[in-house]
């Protein structure tokens, strides 16, 4: 399937024919793919204030799924449900279920640390550790004991190269990551997340602070990674969603309004709300 994908930068929404077509040539739909993450009737409230209500969707394996929607609609919240990061916030109540490869991640006795290692995340705001550039990327690797020094170096280099950051930091690997620019930090966060080779990658607006060239390279990376990883990406950029994703989910006020094949959704959205949002008439 990955071979059928186009280069990032091409506006997939504008092209004709489903890019991620099913085997039988029919337009792909998430239900036909192998499920990776299945969200069933998920509701969440922060201290009694609902942020998600009855969301159900399937994030297919080795596909890029984009989440779009107006600010505050619950995109980040949904993403954080997928690696149980909301557990840490006092007063959060979650109901419904999320399964990863058939395993309920909210079941009792789940190794949450291992879950989070398999479901990597890049946050909306860069949050580098107050350590060197190298140590930031190697952090997740060091948690997995028994990785040799040379392999560690290779993995760090690969991650930084993949995140289009290597050329800028190769000479300052041992300097603090806090002095990188906002965009560099954002790419460092991507490098940090992919260094541990997670199965699933959750990207919360990974390109919000990047220039067009870096954005392009990140999209290229997402595209590449999409062949092997399951990716969920939040973005406010409709073109970006159209360019990089196979499937798109539109959230509005904590509810899933529409979810389907990206091309289909951008060409002829099923709901008026979706159309308004995509075309910028929303609000």
């Amino acid at each position: 399937m990955a071979t059928e994908r186009k280069d990032p930068g091409n506006d997939r929404a504008a092209s004709d024919g489903p890019a991620a077509g099913g085997v039988d040539g029919a337009p792909a739909s998430p239900e036909r793919e192998t499920p990776c993450l299945e969200v069933r009737d998920l509701s969440l409230s922060y201290g009694g204030v609902p942020a998600l209500s009855h969301v159900s969707l399937t994030i297919p394996r080795r596909r890029v799924t984009a989440f779009i929607g107006p600010s505050g609609c619950g995109k980040s919240t949904l993403l954080r449900c997928l690696n149980r990061l909301n557990d840490l916030i006092d007063g959060v109540r979650v109901s419904g279920s999320v399964t990863l490869n058939g395993m309920d991640i909210y079941r009792r006795g789940v190794d949450v640390a291992d879950l989070r290692r398999r479901v990597g995340m890049v946050f909306q705001q860069p949050n580098p550790f107050p350590k060197s550039v190298y140590e930031n990327v190697a952090y997740g690797l060091r948690l997995q004991r028994g990785i040799a020094r040379s392999e560690m170096d290779d993995r760090v280099e690969w991650s930084l190269k993949s995140a289009a950051l290597w050329d800028e930091v190769r000479d300052r690997l041992n300097e603090t990551a806090l002095e990188l620019s906002g965009g560099q930090q954002q790419r460092l966060m991507i490098a940090r997340a992919i260094a541990v080779r997670p199965d699933v990658l959750l990207l919360d607006e990974p390109a919000s602070a990047l220039d067009p060239i870096s954005t392009l390279r990140i999209e290229e990376l997402i595209h590449q990674l999409g062949a092997e990883y399951t990716i969920a990406i939040v973005t406010h950029n409709m073109q970006q969603a159209a360019r990089v994703s196979d499937y798109t989910a539109f959230l509005y006020m904590g509810e899933l309004v529409e979810f389907g094949n990206t091309d289909g959704m951008f060409l002829n959205p099923a709901k008026q709300q979706t159309e308004d949002y995509i075309t910028g008439r929303y609000g």
Binding site: L85, A113, R116, Q125, R192, A193, V196
Partner: protein
């Protein structure tokens, strides 16, 4: 509204008065601190300078008499309080330290300015610093070996001879001290161990086969003692004859004399050398004369040791408590209550901790330890008596709230995003704690330790109950295994100040030492703090944080 009015209102409302008020308060505090430290430093440091010795002839109404001594103070006495009110103007009086205790009484004398006929500074006046009874002042009139006069007069030759003999005495004294420290003390220590071993075996019902060891130790003791007696006899050889202020000639044994100098004849270089030497003696020697003379080394050692042990105990304890309260405990009414309790603990008077330390640590914990591990020493206590470890523990308890509070503040400053970043990479809570949170919070932890050290080093009251003594027979660290004796009692600069300044038989003579000791205590606290602050700044540089 008229213009001037507006201007005044605007000055009042502009906030400028508050700025001035604050600046004034800060200025006042700084001035107070600097003034206090300056006073202490001036008084304390001046003590070691070789003060001039005056020979004053005065007329006390019955006739002329001469007084020899150092000027210790000038006072304008209220004439109303004097037996003879006179003209009603304040009377200038001089306090002269005439020394020569046990020869003259008393060793301080007030002289009316008006009664002074002449005042000279003869170059041949000598100050003898004695092991006991303070300084002696007078003129050198000869040197004796036993009963034989070997040197006459007080010329330069006699002075050189005196210095040589003093050097010999000092060398002998050193040799005796070495012998004492290296051999006799350890033999005594081993004999005591042997006695305890014997009791232990008796308690266990085993036989005694330790006699040969005791015999050999005793033989060695006798041998060393004989050598010691030789040295002591050699030490007793020399004496000087000194003419004191009333013309009497007295004999001073050189074994009692530490140093002799002629302050009025000293060059600037000699004065500075003398100053440095006395300062060094003050820092490195043991106290003599019920602490009113000699040095304060055991007190410095005890203070620093106690503070270090306290830091080692309080840091992990405070950090663990803070981490639990902030990271693990479910935030609620109970945790809030505990936090309030911890904050209030910081306000409990030190003496209360002292009483608690004595009852809990010394008697209960120490007593139990003795029963369990040192039954052979019973009824004499080993740990069940005030000592260094209990004092350190008590102070650790006293300062733990400070460490908890400041660690918690540090933990609260770490953004949630950083923790989430670590957790999202698959770190467990504990891994996040050790790899991210504690390193980043380490400057705050150190701030807590700095505050704890400052408080602990200045605290005296609780220590009097749990381990500090006026005079400790031995340092807590020595050459006898296990080398560090935490159960021993120790000396402390704070208590030393109290003891010397207010409990000594001769307050006047000891006063400069009180200033010097106070200065030293301040100095030690500053040094300890600066060390910790430097460490903290290095860490802060490493974990500098971008807000947000």
């Amino acid at each position: 509204m008229p213009a001037p009015d507006t201007r005044r209102t605007s000055w009042w409302t502009s906030g400028a008065p508050w700025v001035w008020l604050n600046a004034g308060a800060v200025g006042l505090s700084v001035a107070a601190v600097l003034g206090l430290v300056g006073l202490i430093a001036a008084r304390g440091l001046a003590h070691f300078w070789p003060a001039e010795v005056l020979e004053i002839v005065h007329d006390d109404g019955t006739g002329r008499a001469s007084v020899i001594g150092e000027l210790a103070g000038i006072e304008f006495a209220d004439p109303e309080l004097l037996p003879d009110p006179g003209s009603g103007t304040p009377v200038e009086r001089r306090l002269i330290k005439t020394g020569n205790r046990r020869v003259n009484a008393p060793d301080f004398r007030w002289l009316d300015r008006a009664a002074i006929v002449s005042e000279r500074r003869p170059a041949d006046l000598v100050v003898f610093e004695r092991m006991e009874w303070g300084n002696a002042y007078g003129r050198l009139r000869g040197i004796f070996e036993h009963e034989d006069r070997v040197v006459h007069g007080s010329d330069a030759q006699a002075w050189t001879a005196l210095q040589q003999r003093l050097a010999r005495v000092a060398a002998l004294r050193e040799e005796i001290a070495d012998l004492q420290a290296s051999t006799i003390d350890s033999i005594n220590y081993e004999l005591e161990e042997l006695r305890l071993e014997r009791r232990r075996r008796a308690l266990d019902g085993a036989g005694f086969d330790l006699d040969w060891r005791e015999r050999s130790l005793n033989e060695e003791y006798t041998r060393v003692e004989a050598r010691l007696m030789d040295l002591v006899r050699a030490l007793e050889r020399d004496a000087v004859e000194v003419e004191i202020m009333d013309g009497r000639r007295v004999r001073i044994e050189l074994r009692d004399v530490l140093r002799a100098w002629r302050p009025n004849a000293m060059s600037r270089v000699e004065q500075i050398t003398h100053y440095m030497a006395s300062l060094w003696d003050f820092l490195s020697e043991e106290p003599r004369e019920a602490n009113t003379e000699g040095g304060v080394f055991p007190a410095i050692f005890g203070t620093v040791m106690m503070v270090l042990i306290m830091s080692v105990l309080v840091t992990p304890f405070g950090v663990i408590a803070a981490v639990y309260l902030h990271e693990y405990a479910r935030q609620g009414a109970l945790v809030r209550l505990i936090r309030i309790a911890v904050n209030n603990l910081a306000g409990v008077p030190g003496i209360v901790y002292g009483v608690f330390g004595l009852g809990f640590f010394v008697y209960l914990v120490g007593g139990t330890l003795d029963d369990l591990f040192y039954p052979e020493a019973r009824p004499a206590p080993t740990f069940g008596t005030p000592g260094l470890v209990w004092a350190s523990l008590t102070l650790a308890l006293l300062t733990v709230p400070v460490v908890i509070v400041s660690t918690e503040e540090g933990l609260a400053r770490i953004p949630r995003a950083i923790r989430e970043g670590s957790l999202a990479l698959g770190a467990t809570k504990a891994e996040t704690l050790f790899r991210i949170i504690l390193p980043v919070a380490s400057p705050s932890i150190l701030t807590g330790v700095i505050l704890a050290v400052a408080r602990a080093a200045g605290e005296v009251a609780p220590l009097m109950l749990v381990g500090v003594v006026k005079l400790a027979p031995a340092l807590p660290v020595d050459g006898n295994p296990p080398f560090i004796h935490l159960e021993r009692k120790f000396m402390h600069l704070g208590f030393h100040i109290y003891d010397v300044g207010f409990q000594s038989p001769n307050v006047e003579a000891a006063r400069p030492l009180v200033y010097a000791t106070a200065l030293l205590l301040i100095g030690i606290i500053v040094v300890l703090n600066l060390t910790a602050i430097m460490l903290r700044n290095r860490l802060e540089g490493r974990y500098r944080f971008i807000e947000g």
